[in-house]
Symmetry: C2
Subunit: 286 residues, 2 copies
DNA sequence: ATCATTCTCTGACCTTAGTCAGAGAATCCG
DNA sequence: CGGATTCTCTGACTAAGGTCAGAGAATGAT
């Protein structure tokens, strides 16, 4: 049923709101070039590499578009000081003006679109779109296996540690540096290239059991079912590696996490390690 | 605020669900050709003229795409029996198979998109999209002034009469044929080329006053604020024509309409005509 | 120091999308 | 009936979007 609703909505939407994208019309610049300009503006300077990844463009295509924007005096590029193979693009003042112009046009279209609705309808539409936005983003989060020294994993760990430090009554000290443990597997969930959830498993001595480590969900993403999805994913991985049981420890302060583990079928067990921060211990048979 | 939500949603949406449109990928046919195929399939045969209007294509461009589909054996064209300048296109059996294939692909994408969500989340998403769909369609309804003998006006009148006949306790007889009255102005609200609301004004004897006639809103569209919008539009027209006051009559059975008139600032007045179907009379000073 | 890899760029090339003018047949209007 | 109009089509053209191979500089791995 959701599928028919989605397809129906898609038809309505592309017919009438796809037009928000037409805001580049009249600028004399083609769509792809305008998108590139917006991306550079939004990122406040980005390497060619990043732009290519984010817009999913061919390097030749992108390069040519950059030359065009340079030719129009809207963008300036220079080698990245840190890695001189890379080039960094940023908007010139004229580019910033063109960016503002595009933003203004797009905003005008949006205003014109909702203008016929009453304030109450606008409020209902906003509410519905907020919900749809969150759920669509949640549905399109990508789970990727990474090593714990992958930049995305490092970033996720940094935020995980920061959150524990803020929430634990006596703070949190992660201990030594973060060497990749043999045999452990980490998974990062990303949305728009940002990590939004993280977690990993490592085999425990008896080999029947895997331990779930570093479960973290970005605060803005809680309630979107991401934690449960990550947990299921890690359990599947553990099972695929031949484990029959998963265990994990956590702290009383993390009540949403504890509630989630319980909903996911985890049961409390006795302390199984000497982690000073752990106060609650759970296990689940796969 | 709604504007930021809309723009944010638009970004999320075009990045992730615009991909529903990519369902043509792998068919070896470009997007525009696939769209044409879908349009012919949906209409179950359409004249070149209609296709051109509906897809807003250049006649040369369309013609070439039709040749291509003919070449692939998916579409057959023949002169329209009624007007031999026109040609009618319809799907061949192979074309119908290609059509089904496209539909299936699009459906698969939709299924894959919502698959990571829990059933409850899917339900929430469906609900949000249903709301957004209705409101976006409501916002993009177009109001057009027409003569009462315009095909769209006739269709709207037909449905207006059918509804009154069904709802009035003793049925409804519209009286004589529908000659365009001098000085009267009619407005039809359309969505996807279908009339969804209708109404008109005609000057009354004293010339200070205009009477609102034939207010009708499609049953599926009630509650979307379309009646109120039509009413405002007609009032503006009346004011522009120099009237200071609008009046209207209606029947007790039309309670939603009566409630709407009252919300819009109309006040009950004495009977001002001998319309046997009218039981309630309203007026508003502009 | 060497070799492989990464990064950006240019050149050559292709498809898709779309525009415009005009031809030829059919139809409509007076 | 004759001229204007409608409809579809072809030819000629352009811009936009995109792919691929390879060159040249910088960097990383051993």
């Amino acid at each position: 049923m959701i599928v028919e609703v989605l397809r129906g909505f898609n038809r309505t939407y592309t017919q009438r709101i796809g037009a928000l994208d037409d805001s580049f019309l009249g600028t004399g610049r083609p769509l792809a070039v305008s998108r590139l300009l917006l991306e550079i503006g939004r990122a406040e300077g980005a390497s060619v590499r990043e732009l290519r990844d984010r817009l999913d463009l061919d390097s030749g295509h992108l390069s040519r578009m950059l030359r065009r924007l340079e030719g129009e005096g809207l963008v300036a590029t220079e080698p990245d000081a840190a890695d001189r193979r890379r080039r960094v693009a940023r908007l010139t003042p004229a580019g910033a003006a063109a960016y503002d112009d595009l933003e203004r046009r797009s905003e005008e279209r949006a205003v014109a679109l909702v203008e016929p609705l009453t304030p109450r309808q606008q409020e209902r539409l906003a509410e519905a779109l907020r919900t749809a936005d969150l759920l669509v983003r949640a549905a399109t989060v990508r789970l990727t296996e990474v090593r714990s020294d992958h930049p995305m994993a490092r970033e996720a760990t940094r935020r995980y540690v920061a959150e524990l430090a803020a929430r634990f009554p006596d703070g949190f000290d992660p201990g030594g540096p973060d060497a990749p443990e043999a045999g452990s597997t980490f998974v990062v969930a990303t949305s728009d290239g940002e990590p939004v959830a993280y977690g990993g498993i490592r085999p425990v001595l008896d080999d029947e059991t895997a331990e779930i480590k570093r479960m973290w969900v970005d605060a803005e993403w809680r309630g979107a079912g991401l934690g449960a999805r990550m947990l299921r994913h890690l359990e599947t991985l553990a099972a695929a590696q031949g484990h029959r049981r998963v265990v994990l420890d956590t702290n009383r302060a993390l009540h949403e996490a504890i509630a989630m583990y319980e909903r996911a079928g985890y049961e409390r067990v006795e302390r199984y390690n000497d982690n000073p921060y752990a106060e609650a211990f759970f296990a689940k048979t796969l």
